[in-house]
Amino acid sequence: MEFFIQLLVNGLSIGFLYGLAAMGFVMIFKASSVLNFAHGELMALGAFVFLVLISWAGLPVYLAFPLALIGCFILGFVVERLFLRPLIGEPLIYVIMLTVGLASIFKGIMLFIWGGNLYTFPDFLPAGLAIHWGSVNIPPVYVVSIAIGLIFLMLFGLFFKYSSQGIYMRSVADNQPAALSLGVHVRKVFALSWAIAALVAGMSGIVLGTINGINVHDLSSIGLKVFPVVILGGLDSIGGAVIGGIIIGLLETFTGGYLSTSLRDVVPYMALVFILMVKPYGLFGLVEIERV
C-alpha cells in the first residue's frame, strides 16, 4: 500500500509538470494553430537559465526563480518577434518546420555552452517541506511541483476566464477575422502566447531538472512527451492538457513501479496510439459546434 501511495504521489507531481509544459504547447496551438516542436528545448533552456542564476551567479532562490521565469517570458517574445512573425500568413507547414529548425538551433547552442553533461541544482529547497506519512516519504521537490502546478493552473484559469487580455486571446483562437474586425491586436496575441508558453515550459523544465538532474538531451526529449499528453487531453483544451499530463504521469510511474522501468518511456506512446484510435479529438478536445 505504501508503495502504491508513493507511486501515486510521484506520478501526480510528474504529471502536473507534464501538464504545465503541455499547457504552453496548447496555448500556442490555440492562438496560431502552430505545433511547436521546440517545446522541449524551451523547457531545457528554462532549466539552464535557472542553473546559471542559482549556482553560477549564486543568487538566492526567491530571486533566481522569478528572474528565470521573466527571462523565459522575454525569450518567448523575442522568438516570436524574430522568427515567427515574418511567417504570419505563410502556409502553416512552413511555420511548423521552422519550429523544428528552432529546436535544433536551441539544442545546438545549449550543447555548445553546457555540453552533454548532467548538472544538478544545489539543494535549494528547505527539507522542512518534505511530508512523512507512515512509511511514505514525499521529498520536497514533489510537494513543490504539485503546489506550483495547482497555483499556475488556477492563475491561468482565472486569466483566460476573466481578464480582458485572456478573453482577447480566446477570441483570436475562436475566429480570427472577427477578432481583427474588432481591433484585437492579433500579432500581439501571438507574441503573448509564445511568451506565456515559454514561461510555463521553462518553469516545468526547472522543476523537472530538480527531480531528474539537468541534461540537454533528457530535458528536450521530454518535449516529445508533450505530444501524447496533448493528444490525450485534446489539442485545444488547456484543462485537458493538465489532465492529460496527470494521466500520462501516473501511467509512467505505475508502469515503472509495477512492470518494468524499460517499459516506462514506451507507455505514453502506446496510450497515444490507443487514444487516437478510440477518441481522436482527445478527452476534452473541442467538438465543433455546428449550426444546421
Binding site: S164, R170, D174, P177, A178, S181, L182, G183, H185, I289
Partner: protein
C-alpha cells in the same frame, strides 16, 4: 445636424493577389451622422469596398492600388486593421461571425479591444438596453444562439468599441422578415441616439432605402448611380431591378420578365 464629410473614397481600385481587380475606381463620400446604403447584386464589390475602408483587405491579400481613402482629413488606405479600428471605424462582418466558444458577455467584452483597460460595464448595460434578448442569454455560449440573437450580438459587440463609423455588411442575411424589421429599427435608433455614422451594405434594397439618408448603387466594381433615398426609391430602374416592381408600380411576376429585353447595365 452636423454635416461635415467624415469619410471620402476617391477613385479607389482594389486588386486581390496582385491580379484580380475587384474595384475599378469607386468614389463615394459619407457625411457625419448619416446612414448611407450601398446596394448592388452579388459580386458587385460592396463587401470589398467595406473591407478596403476597414483595412481587413490586407489579411485577404488584397490591396488598394489606386486612389485614396480619406477619414477626417487623413489618408487611411492600406493601414492595418489595428490602426483603423482605433480611429473609430468598426466593420460588422457579413454572415455573423460570433466567437462560438465564448459566452455572449465575453463576446461583448472583445469589443473593448480598441480601448483596453477602460471601464466597460456601462456600455454593456447600453447594449442590453438596445438588445434585450442578449441580456437573458448572457451566460450562454454564442455557438448555441439563434441567427437573430447572433446578429444582435455582433452589432452590440461592435458598439462596445464606441465606433464613429459603423460598417454593416448585410445585417438582414438569412433572418425572418420580422427580425429584419427589428434589426433595422435598432440600426436607425443607434444612428439617431449615438450619432454613429453608418454605411449599410444590403441586398434588401427596400428596407435599406427606408432607413438610409443617401444611397449608392454598385455594379461590377463601379458606382453606377447615387442619390438621396427618396430619389432612388422613385427611380424606375431601381424599382424594377431592386424593389421588384414594374414601371407602373405593380408587383411584377417572374413569368413576365423576358430576360433579353431587360436593361442589364446602366453603363
Amino acid at each position: 445636424m452636423e454635416s461635415g464629410i467624415l469619410l471620402q473614397l476617391n477613385n479607389i481600385s482594389v486588386v486581390y493577389s496582385d491580379v484580380i481587380q475587384v474595384l475599378k475606381g469607386v468614389s463615394l463620400s459619407v457625411e457625419e451622422n448619416r446612414i448611407v446604403s450601398l446596394l448592388g447584386s452579388n459580386g458587385a464589390g460592396k463587401t470589398t469596398t467595406l473591407k478596403a475602408i476597414s483595412g481587413l483587405l490586407k489579411t485577404e491579400n488584397g490591396k488598394v492600388t489606386d486612389g485614396d481613402i480619406v477619414y477626417r482629413e487623413s489618408s487611411i488606405q492600406n493601414s492595418p486593421p489595428e490602426t483603423i479600428t482605433r480611429l473609430g471605424i468598426i466593420q460588422v462582418l457579413e454572415g455573423r461571425q460570433p466567437f462560438k466558444y465564448l459566452t455572449i458577455e465575453e463576446n461583448l467584452r472583445v469589443g473593448t479591444a480598441t480601448r483596453w483597460g477602460k471601464p466597460y460595464k456601462k456600455d454593456m448595460e447600453l447594449i442590453y438596453d438596445y438588445f434585450p434578448p442578449l441580456k437573458e442569454r448572457r451566460k450562454t455560449l454564442a455557438g448555441y444562439c439563434s441567427g437573430g440573437e447572433l446578429q444582435m450580438l455582433v452589432m452590440g459587440r461592435a458598439l462596445m468599441a464606441h465606433p464613429k463609423l459603423l460598417l454593416l455588411d448585410e445585417p438582414s442575411l438569412g433572418l425572418a422578415p420580422l427580425v429584419v424589421k427589428e434589426i433595422f429599427a435598432i440600426i436607425e435608433r443607434i444612428n439617431r441616439e449615438q450619432g454613429t455614422t453608418i454605411i449599410l451594405v444590403e441586398q434588401n434594397a427596400g428596407m435599406a432605402l427606408q432607413i438610409a439618408h443617401y444611397g449608392y448603387i454598385m455594379e461590377n466594381g463601379r458606382i453606377v448611380m447615387e442619390g438621396s433615398s427618396a430619389d432612388l426609391k422613385e427611380n424606375p430602374d431601381i424599382k424594377e431591378f431592386y424593389l421588384g416592381m414594374g414601371a407602373s408600380g405593380d408587383a411584377k411576376s417572374y413569368k413576365d420578365v423576358k430576360s433579353y429585353k431587360r436593361r442589364k447595365r446602366w453603363l
